[in-house]
C-alpha cells in the first residue's frame, strides 16, 4: 500500500459519513413518530390504543428480523423507483434508512418509557393535551437518553453502511472488502478499519459529551 492511496481513504470516508448521516437523519424522521406512537398507544400510555400499538409493534419486529443484506436485495425495485438506481451511495441510503427506522423506533420507545410516570401525571393534572405532553414533557425529559441512544444508533448504521460495498456503493467498508478482502491487501484493509474505528470513537464521544453538557440531572 502506498501513500498515494491516502486521498482514496479520505474520499471514501466522506462517502461513509454521507451514507451514515443521511440515512440516520431519514431513519430518525420516520423512527421518532413511530417510537412516540408505540409509547402513546400502549395500554398504559397517554392515549391507549393497544390493538394498533400491537400491530405497529409486529410490523416493526418483522422488518427488524430481516437480515440487512436480504432486505437490501429484496427492495431493489423499490429503490430504483425512488432514486433511479440500485448501485452507488445514493442507492444504499434507501435500504439503510428502511432497515434503521424500525430500530430507531424501538430505541426511541425505550427512551420515552424512561420518563417518570409521575411527571406525565402531573402534566395531565395541569390540563395538558396529548400533544403538549409529547412535546413539552416526553421528548424534553427523555433528551439525555435519546442522545445516548442516538450515538449508539448512528454507529450501528455506520456498521450497516460497510455492507454497501456488496452493491457497488462506496465507503470505507467497500475499500476494506474490495482491496483488502478480494485482493488480499491486508494493509489497505487494516487502514480502512482504523479509519472506521476512529470515526466510531468520535461519534460515540461527541454523543456522550452532548449528553453530559445538556442533562440537567447532573449537578
Amino acid at each position: 500500500m502506498s501513500f498515494k492511496m491516502m486521498p482514496l481513504f479520505f474520499e471514501e470516508l466522506g462517502n461513509t459519513l454521507t451514507m451514515t448521516f443521511v440515512s440516520s437523519f431519514l431513519a430518525y424522521i420516520i423512527g421518532i413518530p413511530l417510537g412516540i406512537l408505540l409509547v402513546v398507544w400502549a395500554r398504559d400510555g397517554i392515549r391507549p390504543m393497544p390493538r394498533a400499538q400491537e400491530a405497529l409493534g409486529m410490523i416493526i419486529n418483522l422488518i427488524r428480523s430481516l437480515p440487512f443484506l436480504i432486505l437490501l436485495i429484496a427492495i431493489q425495485s423499490f429503490t430504483r423507483t425512488l432514486v433511479g438506481t440500485t448501485v452507488g451511495t445514493r442507492a444504499i441510503i434507501v435500504p439503510l434508512t428502511l432497515a434503521s427506522a424500525p430500530y430507531i423506533a424501538r430505541i426511541v420507545e425505550s427512551s420515552l418509557k424512561e420518563v417518570d410516570a409521575g411527571i406525565i401525571e402531573a402534566a395531565k393534572a395541569m390540563g395538558a393535551s396529548t400533544w403538549q405532553i409529547i412535546w413539552k414533557v416526553l421528548l424534553p425529559e427523555a433528551r439525555p437518553s435519546l442522545l445516548i441512544n442516538a450515538a449508539i444508533a448512528v454507529t450501528t448504521i455506520l456498521g450497516y453502511s460497510a455492507m454497501a460495498g456488496f452493491v457497488g456503493a462506496g465507503g470505507l467498508g467497500a475499500v476494506a472488502i474490495n482491496y483488502g478482502y478480494y485482493r488480499n491487501q491486508n494493509a489497505v484493509m487494516w487502514t480502512a478499519i482504523i479509519f472506521l474505528v476512529v470515526v466510531v470513537q468520535i461519534i460515540q464521544s461527541v454523543g456522550m459529551w452532548l449528553v453530559k453538557k445538556t442533562d440537567r440531572r447532573v449537578r
Binding site: 411527571i119 395531565k124 395541569m126 403538549q132 424534553p140 440531572r217
Partner: protein, 341 residues
C-alpha cells in the same frame, strides 16, 4: 350534615371505582359521598391501600370513576368534553409525594409550565412565576434545576407551580410523606397561609394523623374503600366512632378498649377556655382511651365550667401520663371511688 356552611366546590355523589386487573376486579372506592366547601382545608386519611389516592385522582378525573359523579363547581365532570375537562383541570392545582417536577427545566420554567399549557403569554407567565416563587421563598433559586434542590424546596416549587394558573382548589396527594418532620411543618404552614390569604380550597390526602391535626378543618376517614367517618377534625378526634378512626387516632391504644376495672377520675373545669378540646387533647397526647361516665359542663362566655367523670384503663403508666398531662394543662383532677358515681 349540619356542620356544613357555604357552597361546595367539589361534590362526590355515590362515587365508586373498580380496577380490572389480571387477578379480576379490585374495588378501590365504594359509594363515596362527600362535599368539599369553598375555602376549607379538607383532609382525607386512611391506611395505605385504603383508596384515598384513587379518591383524589377521581376529583380531577385522572382516574375515571366507574360509578357515581364528580361535580366541580356544580358541573358534572363526566359530561365535559376532553377540552372542557383540560380547562377545568387548569383551575385545580395538584401536588404530589414525589414532587414530579420536570427535571430538565429550571425552577422558573417549571413554575411557568402550567401557564405554557394554558397559553399564557410568556412575559406575563414569567412575571407571575417570579411572584409565586417569592411567595414560597425560593426567588433566588429560579435558575436552579430540581436536582440541586432539597425535598422541601422541590415541594415549594411544586406548590408555586400548582398555583400558577390561579386555581380554586389545590389537591395534595401525600405531599409531605417524603419529607422530614420539620420540613413537613413548614410546608403545612405554607399551605395554610395560601388557604387563608388567597382563599384557595385545599384537599389533603395523607396517612399521617398529625397532618390532619395541624391544618385541616374537616376530615374524612377512609377504610376498606368507604368513608368510615366524616366531620370536623376536633369532633372526630374527640370521639372517633369507627374502628378505623380509633385505630388511626389512638394507634395501639385502640386495642385496649376493654376497660375491665377502669379507675374513675373527676375533672373540674373552672374557667378554662371552652374552645380547648381538653379530652381529645388528652387522648391524642397520651394515646389513652378515655371513657366519659358523667359530664355536666357549660360554656359560659367562652369559658368551660362544670365537671366530668372519666374512666381510664387500670394501667399505672397510662394513668400517670394522663394525670401529668392534665396537671400541666392546669385542669384539676382527682380520683373518685366507683360508688361515688
Amino acid at each position: 350534615m349540619t356542620e356544613l356552611h357555604g357552597e361546595s366546590i367539589i361534590r362526590l355523589c355515590g362515587l365508586g371505582k373498580e380496577f380490572k386487573g389480571a387477578q379480576g376486579a379490585v374495588r378501590a372506592l365504594t359509594d363515596i359521598n362527600l362535599e368539599i366547601i369553598k375555602g376549607e382545608i379538607f383532609g382525607i386519611i386512611g391506611l395505605s391501600g385504603a383508596g384515598k389516592s384513587t379518591l383524589v385522582r377521581c376529583m380531577n378525573f385522572l382516574e375515571t370513576p366507574t360509578e357515581g359523579e364528580v361535580y366541580y363547581d356544580g358541573r358534572p365532570l363526566s359530561e365535559m368534553s376532553p377540552g372542557e375537562l383540560r380547562r377545568t383541570r387548569q383551575s385545580m392545582g395538584m401536588i404530589f409525594q414525589q414532587f414530579n417536577l420536570l427535571e430538565q427545566r429550571n425552577v422558573l420554567r417549571n413554575v411557568c409550565f402550567p401557564m405554557e399549557i394554558a397559553g399564557t403569554p410568556k412575559a406575563e407567565a414569567r412575571e407571575r412565576a417570579r411572584g409565586l416563587l417569592k411567595l414560597v421563598g425560593l426567588l433566588e433559586k429560579e435558575a436552579a434545576y430540581p436536582v440541586q434542590l432539597s425535598g422541601g424546596q422541590k415541594q415549594r416549587v411544586a406548590i408555586a407551580r400548582a398555583m400558577a394558573t390561579n386555581p380554586k382548589v389545590i389537591l395534595c396527594d401525600e405531599a409531605t410523606s417524603a419529607l422530614d418532620p420539620n420540613t413537613t411543618k413548614s410546608i403545612l404552614e405554607l399551605l395554610k397561609e395560601i388557604n387563608q390569604r388567597m382563599g384557595i380550597t385545599i384537599v389533603i390526602i395523607t396517612h399521617e394523623m398529625s397532618v390532619i391535626e395541624a391544618i385541616c378543618d374537616r376530615v374524612a376517614i377512609i377504610g376498606d374503600s368507604r368513608i368510615a367517618e366524616i366531620g370536623q377534625v376536633s369532633r372526630i378526634f374527640a370521639g372517633p366512632k369507627s374502628k378505623i378512626g380509633r385505630q388511626l387516632i389512638l394507634g395501639d391504644a385502640a386495642k385496649q378498649v376493654e376497660f375491665g376495672d377502669g379507675r374513675l377520675f373527676r375533672i373540674t373545669f373552672d374557667g378554662l377556655a371552652s374552645s380547648e378540646p381538653v379530652i381529645s387533647n388528652v387522648i391524642l397526647a397520651c394515646k389513652v382511651p378515655v371513657n366519659i361516665m358523667y359530664a355536666a359542663t357549660r360554656d359560659i362566655k367562652g369559658k368551660a365550667a362544670g365537671q366530668m367523670i372519666i374512666e381510664l384503663p387500670d394501667n399505672e403508666a397510662d394513668i400517670s401520663r394522663v394525670l401529668h398531662y392534665l396537671d400541666r394543662a392546669k385542669v384539676p383532677c382527682e380520683e373518685v371511688g366507683k360508688n361515688e358515681l
